[in-house]
Amino acid sequence: MTLSPQDATAALRDIDAAQARSATLRGYRRAAPQFLIWGVIWAAGYGLSDGFPHHANAIWAVLVPIGVAAGLFAGRGTEPSFAWRYGAITLAMLAFFAATFFVMAPVTGRQVSAFIPLFVALLYVLAGIFRGPRYVVAGLVVAAATLTGFVFIAGHFLLWMAVVGGGALILAGFWMRKV
């Protein structure tokens, strides 16, 4: 049996496609626990903040470290650099939000509660441009849910974010786990 250049080209094209699909789906699989964890954290944080608005800062001060710890635990063993990268991303995001709110002040709690999910949605969209369309869809859904609630839900925007924003992340997590 002899292989022609056309056969070789077709085989290499199949290889490239299979490798790209394999890498993308592996990335989804590894990201799934993070979506699930942060979906639950969002649901709990926004839900509790809606019920106890004067304790919102304390609620998030407890929940964010729990989410980071859970995220680190879920990603253990995936790659040697995971822990420090995860920690660095967390610190970078906290520093960004602190600097942004310092520069843009004064801001209302409602604005803060909308801005953070919009920024997270942007990160998902940017990640998706390189790593697969499911991240883009997740980012767009979170952004749309946030803007919809911000514009149309006057009384219980935080509860909206708990159910729709947190729910969107949890659903995205289950979607990421699918093949």
């Binding site: 049996m1 070789a8 290499l12 290889i15 394999s22």
Partner: protein, 106 residues
């Protein structure tokens, strides 16, 4: 250099390409590999057996919560053979390859 007939079969080529995208030593569950490749149980199982007999993949069976689980990983020999095959294909396109397929028992 010659082509690897075991690898070049279309389904096995996709299996090897899929496994080659995983880090060295990482295993993938049979059910997940089947879904990724859109293959049937029997078809995938037969091709994996061929690859296992050639020493290109390692198949591990165990039980998780009393349910059987089969996991597949590319061996070092498989990774090397796949790299050789890809090089061979590229050589054909570059005009350096002979284009002959190497016969191997399957």
């Amino acid at each position: 250099m010659s082509a690897d007939e075991i690898i070049h079969q279309p389904v096995r080529l996709r299996i090897m390409a899929t496994l080659s995208a995983l880090p060295d030593g990482e295993r993938i569950e049979f059910t997940r590999l089947k879904a990724i490749l859109n293959a049937t149980d029997g078809n995938l199982g037969a091709h994996l057996t061929t690859l296992e007999n050639a020493g290109y993949v390692a198949i591990e069976k165990d039980f998780v919560a009393k349910k059987p689980r089969t996991r597949v990983a590319m061996t070092r020999a498989g990774r090397a053979a796949f790299a050789r095959h890809v090089t061979y294909l590229r050589d054909i396109i570059d005009g350096a390859g002979g284009g002959q397929m190497e016969e191997k028992p399957s």
